[in-house]
């Protein structure tokens, strides 16, 4: 990052528990969830009537009426109404991209503080009217005589009552994200067993994070839900082994257990420059050091849809003079257990690293004991836009709890890697404050 830039501090974050689709949040809107989350953050950091630099947040599944959802949510909170806000969207990378945007403005001195957030509901999903009917209605709207209006209305047909539902498919391939992931899993020879093991580890780590109180100030109850609804503390490889494959055909290895479920939720983190933090007497948990996004060509080159982080991370590491092993914690978004495993296999594969990533040799290996140490998306669920905020807040707290004596000569470090639809990947490096 530019040497003249200011350091960007993560002061902390919060989220509501993530619910499964059509669960306790079935009737909650994105705006309800984001507003509740921002309110919780305001309470946590006593931000009542504070004018912040901005609030940036986004979600993937939004109603057309929600063109200014973040602003509307912020207006519904105790934040000072003079705080600007905007929406953004980058598929599953939305939440982390929001943090990067706010961080960059702080680094450049354009703002001193800001909230980055994300949200998504798969329950209160937008349903659009039939595309044919929309055409008729628009024509009716353009008509300037009764005859023309009648002519337009005459085009209404019974089948036009069928609405257009949001599709969980890549527009350019027609394949669902799970089907894409199954193709990549097959390419890498990922076994069912290793996916289920990773899934169990995710659930155990998240359960421990609740049991030890780590999440006490990171998760605030909402609509009666206190913990992530998807969490199964007692799951096991044996139990997961009973599930039938849902992606990749009958011989597929991906199940409802080792894939993230559709979920609802929201998250938010408070970022600031060091001066603002000091002036407000808020301790710094961690710094956002640098970030990198990348994209793969899943359409023409048939690269793995979810493999873009494999490209982003080497660039990010090179720019910061770091190796893959130079981190204490790795937060790799578990869209699917197979996605994480493919990413890890790719980074240690001489062929992939040379032919695809243009590296001299393998990027390296990751110690799985440092991976998603407080649980991942497989256990928590994955409301698309909310995952980035969950990870940034959790990693910042994890880094703040790291014993500085662990590395007398360097700060504690964490790496975030999030894959997203459209062949996108968003990654970032964070450092402990101490």
């Amino acid at each position: 990052m530019n040497a003249s830039a200011r350091r960007v501090a993560v002061l902390g974050g919060i989220r509501i528990p993530f619910a499964r689709q059509n669960g306790p949040y079935a009737r909650a809107s994105n705006q309800d969830m984001l507003t509740a989350t921002l309110e919780a953050l305001i309470s946590k950091f006593s931000l009542e009537d504070e004018v912040l630099g901005e609030v940036a947040a986004g979600g993937v599944l939004k109603h057309s009426r929600d063109f200014n959802l973040t602003r509307e949510s912020a207006l519904g909170t105790r934040l000072n109404p003079h705080t600007p806000a905007y929406d953004l969207q980058q598929a599953c990378g939305t939440g982390l991209e929001a943090a990067i945007l706010v961080a960059n403005k702080i680094a450049l001195g354009q703002i001193d503080s800001g909230i980055a957030g994300g949200f998504d509901t798969t329950s209160d999903a937008p349903i659009a009217i039939n595309e044919d009917l929309r055409g008729v209605l628009l024509e009716l709207n353009r008509a300037n005589s009764n005859a023309a209006r009648l002519k337009a209305l005459a085009k209404v047909r019974p089948q036009q009552i069928v609405p257009q539902l949001p599709r969980n498919a890549e527009p350019r391939t027609g394949l669902s994200m799970g089907e894409h992931a199954a193709i990549t899993a097959k390419e890498w020879g990922v076994e069912r067993g290793e996916q289920d093991e990773l899934t169990v580890r995710s659930h155990k780590n998240l359960a421990a994070a609740y049991d030890t109180g780590f999440l006490d100030d990171l998760v605030v109850p909402f609509l009666g839900l206190e913990r992530d609804q998807n969490l199964r503390p007692d799951t096991s490889v044996e139990k997961l082994a009973r599930l039938k494959p849902v992606f990749g055909g009958e011989q597929g290895t991906m199940t409802a257990g080792n894939s993230t479920p559709l979920s609802d939720g929201a998250s938010a983190v408070l970022l600031a420059g060091e001066e603002w933090a000091a002036a407000h007497d808020m301790p710094v948990q961690a710094y956002i050091v640098d970030a990198q996004t990348a994209a793969v060509d899943h359409v023409h080159k048939r690269e793995g849809l979810l493999m873009a982080p494999t490209y982003a991370v080497p660039t990010l590491l090179a720019r910061n003079g770091l190796g893959l092993g130079d981190f204490d914690f790795y937060e790799i978004h578990e869209a699917f257990a197979s996605q994480v495993l493919c990413t890890l296999k790719a980074w240690k594969d001489p062929v992939y690293c040379r032919e695809r990533l243009g590296l001299e040799g393998p990027l390296g290996e990751i110690d799985v004991d440092k991976l998603n140490t407080h649980g991942g998306s497989l256990a928590a669920g994955h409301p698309f836009g909310a995952t980035g905020g969950r990870i940034v807040a959790s990693l910042a707290k994890t880094l703040s709890e790291l014993d500085p004596a662990a590395h007398p000569h360097r700060p504690g470090r964490g790496l975030i890697s999030i894959c997203a639809a459209g062949g996108l990947g968003v990654t970032a490096i964070m450092e402990a404050a101490a």
Binding site: K186, W188, E191, R192, K345, D349, P350, V351, E355
Partner: protein, 469 residues
């Protein structure tokens, strides 16, 4: 010459019947046609840790643009990456059952003692049933004589038993070969690996090929026309296997000088004329034949690059009934004449740098055959000639090798009694006779300028016949 049994068992009803009563069911072998890729289908490459041949193998696979898969093991993936081979990943434990390969190639060169032979099992046991029709199983090892330690040599020698057994287990026209690569001979692998992978080796199975370091280089060779600018003498070229040899060498762009006896002059001229070659009519057993051949080659072509000693006869009788003429004729044509011709060509340096001598032995020369004491003696002698001449010719930058055909469908075999003929056809792993072109393709591999590392080898073209070694 047509194999009616094979045609019958490949009809829908024939397939059912032969399967029910356990008859051999030979499939139509894939054979090479000009312009084809070396291998049509995915190749699975594996290696024991520490192998030195995976890198050279990966280079060849990259050169032939093969669709390569490998296990996700660092040493194999590194070899692939070093060869700029964008190899896909294969994990038998995760792959669907219908994922199959045209070839399984395994570098066993890293195996240092008998306990590590487990690596061979580990690679092939979960994959051998994924070999496609007319598929290939190829194991690469280190020539036992070039091993530095006894245990290593023992383990490498053990591979022969493995490969020969796999050859007998694989079905549907698939073959298995062992390629021993000697010290510093990694760069010589390409011509042999291409041959073993391709349909050119359709009727070669259960064979062991030894490759040694040589001064020649395959660099710049046109693999479609490897004999461009080369002159090849083929004896007995007018018909049968000799005709097939002439055709294949001409296909590979050689100028063929076809040689045969005066009685076959017309046939010879017809055969060679079509190929755009030239003819030389004489009896190789004549006293002045070696000198006339040498002079002809020097005067008309400035020398020769490839000499194929194909001319041969049979005069069968059990030993007690064999007259001296039968004995002398067979020994003279099949062995002595070849020795005299070679001596003359070598003495007068008619064979050019990087030249090739290729002989034709026989399964009888290896296994012996009742009624063929004369023939088997001559053909075993050919093997002796190859073995004894390998070092002297190598010093001149040449190679000498032999093919040993098994049951090849020719006019000679068509005239056999049916029981003998059927036994000859079925008693092999491929359960059918070979074609003259199968012998010719093997000779063309020996003859290639890229085969400088292949010297002193006797390779059987016998569909892994049960008879003989």
């Amino acid at each position: 010459m047509s194999d009616r049994y094979q045609q019958l068992v490949n009809t829908p009803i024939g397939k059912i019947v032969s399967k029910q009563i356990g008859l051999p069911s030979p499939v139509a072998l894939e054979r090479y046609e000009r312009g084809q890729p070396v291998i049509s289908g995915p190749v699975l490459l594996g290696a024991a840790p520490g192998g030195r041949l995976a890198a050279a193998t990966a280079k060849v696979l990259a050169a032939i643009d093969a669709d390569v898969h490998t296990p996700l093991q660092e040493h194999v993936r590194t070899a692939a990456a070093d060869a700029s081979l964008e190899a896909k990943v294969f994990n038998p434990d995760a792959a669907p059952e219908d994922q199959t390969f045209k070839a399984l190639v395994f570098d066993a060169g890293g195996i240092e003692d008998s306990e590590q032979l487990r690596e061979v099992w580990a690679f092939f046991a979960p994959t051998v049933r994924r070999v496609r029709k007319s598929g290939r199983v190829i194991v690469l090892g280190t020539t036992p004589a070039d091993c530095t330690r006894p245990r290593q040599a023992t383990a490498q020698r053990a591979l022969e038993g493995f490969v020969r057994s796999v050859g007998k287990e694989v079905r549907k026209g698939a073959t298995a070969q062992l390629i021993y690569v000697g010290a510093k001979a990694e760069s010589e692998l390409e011509s042999t690996l291409r041959f073993c992978l391709s349909p050119k080796s359709a009727y070669v199975s259960g064979q062991v090929v030894r490759i040694a370091a040589s001064a020649s280089s395959a660099e710049g060779i046109d693999w479609e026309l490897p004999l461009a600018g080369k002159f090849a003498l083929v004896t007995g070229a007018s018909r049968g296997i000799g005709k097939a040899i002439a055709k294949v060498l001409a296909r590979d762009a050689a100028h063929v000088i076809g040689l045969d006896v005066p009685g076959l002059q017309r046939e010879l001229e017809d055969t060679i004329g079509e190929l755009g070659g030239s003819t030389l009519v004489l009896d190789i057993t004549d006293d002045d034949a070696p000198a006339r051949i040498a002079t002809h080659l020097v005067e008309d072509h400035g020398g020769v690059d490839v000499v194929v000693h194909n001319a041969g006869v049979t005069r069968d009788k059990t030993l007690g009934r064999m007259d001296e003429d039968r004995w002398n004729m067979v020994l003279s044509i099949n062995l002595s004449a070849q020795e005299r011709i070679d001596d003359e060509l070598l003495a007068r340096e008619v064979i050019r740098e990087n030249g090739r001598i290729v002989c034709v032995s026989s399964m009888s020369g290896i296994a012996g055959n009742a009624g063929q004491t004369n023939y088997a003696t001559s053909k075993a002698g050919v093997i002796g000639m190859v073995e004894s001449m390998a070092v002297p010719v190598a010093k001149k930058g040449l190679t000498i090798n032999a093919v040993a055909p098994g049951f090849i469908e020719t006019q000679m075999t068509a005239a056999m009694p049916i029981a003998t003929r059927e036994a000859g056809r079925r008693m092999s792993s491929l359960a059918q006779g070979g074609l003259p072109v199968d012998v010719a393709e093997t000779i063309a591999w020996f003859a290639s300028p890229a085969s400088g590392g292949v010297n002193g080898n006797v390779v059987r073209v016998c569909g892994q016949s049960l008879i003989g070694a």
